[in-house]
């Protein structure tokens, strides 16, 4: 039993969310007659939802500091339109248009950050204003007409990695290489963590458990690699997915391994205590809001790159998709709780539901109802558990190590492996 615990973590139920995702994927695969877990569909799922997942990365940080950002959809739409217009009307080359978009995003973020951090207007209101301002802005700028974006940007939103090297692998070798790197990195991190803990004098550790876990996670990663790599020649793990994985790793490290990350959780958990401990609350507020709009800009650019043009209604209601992903991922409305990795799982659950229901031919009406119920169920499960004094899904999955063997620090979390961010350590 002890070995099982060391393989799956201290509590088997901590895998609830990941487990739910796997069940959904398999369930839809069967129900749709084998159309779910196909290379094409998985590539579409990642490429088609990358923009929401990127928004969710920023959103979880905003929600952790106890605020909310309602403007992300409008900001994404506004930035997408800026990119399209700067390329068309100002004849910017594609890279300059892209940079313009990101700069506009950061500037908008600084604007939101200023009102929240310096003036003290709650994020909800600052960004409600931003939602109107930038929705109006995009319609104003565009004259309500869709504007094509430079075709070079299409790679960013809908591109695939190159084909190269030997053909006998029967896979896209770029994807294969990524998969091998992911497995190697996971193995390295697991073994070095184990060695560290042994060196720290921890007892009762079982190396076999580490190996079994490695084999299990390695098998999942290998399968994912195969799934994405074995599509139609010319397709691979999609480029927007790669951008997403890259961001997830960066933001996972920022939130879990840096001082700034700890400040975010400190401010969200107890603002007064954080301030008294010398954390600059205003600075944290400012940068988290600025970062959110930066990511919204990136999401908007990815979207218009995929859509091949920027439209006046781009980004409508995206904020709600992002917020749903964060809460399904177990973040707390009151702030202080929530992780990037768990949020990605939450977002993928929504994306899988969407995709699976499309494949089964379920109409938009019923899809909306089902998604609403899933959101409610996930959050209700969380709240119920908290009332029972047990850790939340988040706590079980990724965060809190207070229940574990004591020596590890409470914010330590397994590194997110590409395409399998839910694989937690012990």
């Amino acid at each position: 039993m002890n070995v099982v615990k060391q393989i799956f973590g201290t509590d088997f139920r901590q895998f609830t969310m990941v487990f739910a995702l796997v069940v959904l994927l398999l369930g839809f695969h069967i129900a749709s007659g084998g159309n779910m877990l196909t290379p094409g569909n998985m590539q579409n799922l990642i490429a088609g939802n990358a923009y929401v997942l990127i928004l969710a990365i920023g959103m979880v940080m905003v929600i952790v500091i106890g605020h909310i950002d309602l403007s992300v959809g409008s900001v994404a739409g506004f930035v997408g339109m800026c990119v399209a217009l700067s390329a068309r009307d100002l004849s910017f080359p594609w890279w300059a248009a892209l940079l313009t978009g990101l700069v506009v995003g950061v500037a908008i973020g600084a604007w939101h950050g200023f009102w929240l951090a310096k003036i003290g207007i709650p994020g909800f209101i600052t960004t409600l204003a931003g939602m109107m301002i930038f929705r109006g802005g995009v319609i104003w700028l565009s004259g309500s007409v869709s504007v094509p974006v430079p075709p070079e940007l299409n790679v960013l939103g809908a591109g695939y990695l190159p084909e190269w090297g030997p053909a006998f692998t029967n896979l896209n070798n770029s994807t294969l290489l990524l998969g091998i790197l992911a497995i190697a990195f996971y193995a390295w991190s697991q073994i070095s963590t184990y060695r560290q803990r042994v060196a720290d004098g921890e007892t009762g550790l079982n190396f076999t458990a580490v190996i079994i876990r490695l084999v299990l996670v390695g098998a999942v990663l290998a399968y994912v690699t195969f799934l994405f790599g074995s599509g139609r020649p010319g397709t691979s793990f999609p480029v927007p997915g790669l951008v997403l994985v890259f961001l997830v790793i960066i933001y996972h490290v920022i939130t879990q391994r840096t001082t700034f990350g700890r400040h975010i959780y400190a401010v969200g958990g107890n603002k007064q205590a954080a301030a008294l401990s010398g954390v600059s609350v205003a600075k944290v507020h400012f940068f988290v809001m600025m970062n959110m709009s930066f990511l919204a800009a990136l999401a908007g650019i990815l979207f218009v790159a995929r859509a091949t043009s920027a439209g006046p209604t781009d980004g409508n209601m995206w904020e709600l998709d992002a917020i749903a992903a964060v809460f399904i991922g177990g973040a707390a409305v009151s702030g202080g709780i929530g992780t990037v990795a768990a949020t990605m799982i939450g977002g993928l659950v929504m994306a899988t539901l969407n995709s699976g229901l499309f494949l089964m031919g379920v109409g938009q009406d019923k899809t909306q109802v089902i998604k609403g119920l899933v959101l409610l169920a996930a959050v209700a499960f969380d709240v119920y558990n908290k009332q029972q004094g047990r850790p939340s899904i988040t706590g079980r999955l990724f965060g809190d190590r207070r229940t574990s063997e004591s020596t590890t620090d409470s914010t330590k979390v397994a590194p997110a492996a590409p395409a399998a961010p839910g694989t937690a350590e012990s």
């Binding site: 088609g48 190269w164 053909a167 896209n172 070798n173 043009s309 209604t313």
Partner: protein, 365 residues
């Protein structure tokens, strides 16, 4: 340590050489699965139909008619609607390709924003037919079936003039203009067609646009939202018509026409002459009751029948039927299969709907 670095380095170099020697990976790329015209597909193939939403009657009818007509032509229909959200429509089209659709009919939400999804469909050998709206900014479209949108606008404008002469006596007439949702490529065309009829009459003083708002951008109704049209009418009436009558309003569709009439009733105005589009149930009742003057009927049945006819040609491996018109979508010239719409007024309603039992019943009710 040094030695290890060296070993790694040489291994990497050797690997790179080996890979380079092995060529360019999997071949195929773009052409994989691509079917040239002339190859056809199975007679019971899956045909995808991606509609923008079911929030207006014409789309709900299209859904039912595609289901019926595709089935009776022997195909397996796969019909979905996207709740007016572009990302959902993109994902639906991709899902249809996954499910093995051989042809996909797309009624786009925004005709410019489906480039990547349609390219993926084309690469998989799927034939793509635009339905009701032009698909822009991509070469992945085999043709568009629609009612001529400029022609529709002309009919709307002409009908407004006829109605004014019939109901409001001698001119000059005070009128206001409304346009459709600017993201729909048809909307500016409707307006352009209508203005080609109305502008000469505005210039010679027969028609007076009291508010002075005559640009499409000024008169457009975001998302074809009836509520927004009603608010705009409310403010136009309050600002310009406290001391004069409003004789006529150009309306791009039936929902907006009814919003305009509601607003005029609320402001205590006589009901102006209002045209419409789509022959929606409520508007037919309104026309029959003598309120809305006219609507332009685009029989969904005909449009769907034309679409199914083209799909059947593709299925047999024939070329698509020839067209007279084509329109540049920014990348290629898209063949346009244009059908002619019909103006319906109180006078000819019974005749037009003679073989449409659902609508005919409204006139008897």
């Amino acid at each position: 340590m040094k030695r290890r670095t060296f070993t790694l380095g040489s291994a990497a170099a050797a690997g790179a050489l080996l890979l380079a020697a092995c060529g360019e990976g999997r071949s195929g790329g773009e052409t994989a699965g691509g079917e040239e015209a002339g190859s056809g597909f199975e007679a019971d193939a899956t045909i995808g139909v991606s509609l923008p939403w079911l929030g207006t009657q014409n789309w709900a009818e299209a859904q039912a008619m595609f289901e019926e007509q595709l089935k009776s032509a022997g195909f397996t229909p796969l019909i979905q609607a996207a709740d007016n959200k572009v990302p959902q429509q993109q994902q639906q089209i991709e899902a249809m390709v996954q499910q093995g659709a051989k042809a996909i009919v797309v009624g786009p939400i925004d005709g410019t924003q489906l480039g990547s999804a349609l390219k993926a469909a084309k690469d998989a050998g799927v034939r793509i037919i635009g339905y009701d709206r032009l698909i822009e900014n991509t070469d992945a479209v085999d043709g568009v079936v629609q009612f001529g949108s400029i022609r529709t606008g002309e009919l709307q404008g002409q009908s407004l003039l006829d109605g004014l002469a019939e109901r409001k006596g001698e001119g000059p007439y005070n009128i206001e203009l409304f346009g459709g949702g600017p993201a729909d490529p048809n909307a500016p065309n409707f307006f352009e067609g209508a203005m080609s009829v109305l502008q000469p009459k505005i210039d010679d003083g027969t028609l007076v646009v009291v508010s002075g708002q005559t640009d499409f951008q000024q008169v457009a109704t975001q998302d074809w939202d009836n509520g927004k049209a009603q608010s705009r009418m409310d403010s136009l009436l309050a600002a310009n018509y406290s001391d004069k009558p409003l004789d006529g309003v150009l309306s791009p569709n039936d929902g907006i026409a009814r919003a305009i009439i509601t607003s005029c009733k609320g402001a205590g105005q006589d009901i102006p002459v209002v045209d419409g589009l789509d022959a929606e149930t409520e508007s037919i009742k309104s026309i029959w009751a003598g309120e809305q003057y006219s609507t332009v009927h685009k029989p969904t049945k005909d449009l769907v029948a034309k679409t199914v006819e083209i799909i059947t040609a593709f299925q047999k491996g024939e070329e698509a039927p020839a067209t007279e018109e084509s329109e540049n979508n920014g990348v290629i010239d898209v063949p346009i299969y244009a059908l002619d719409p019909i103006v319906v007024t109180e006078a000819n309603a019974e005749e037009v709907f003679a073989d449409d039992p659902d609508r005919l019943a409204l006139l008897e009710g």
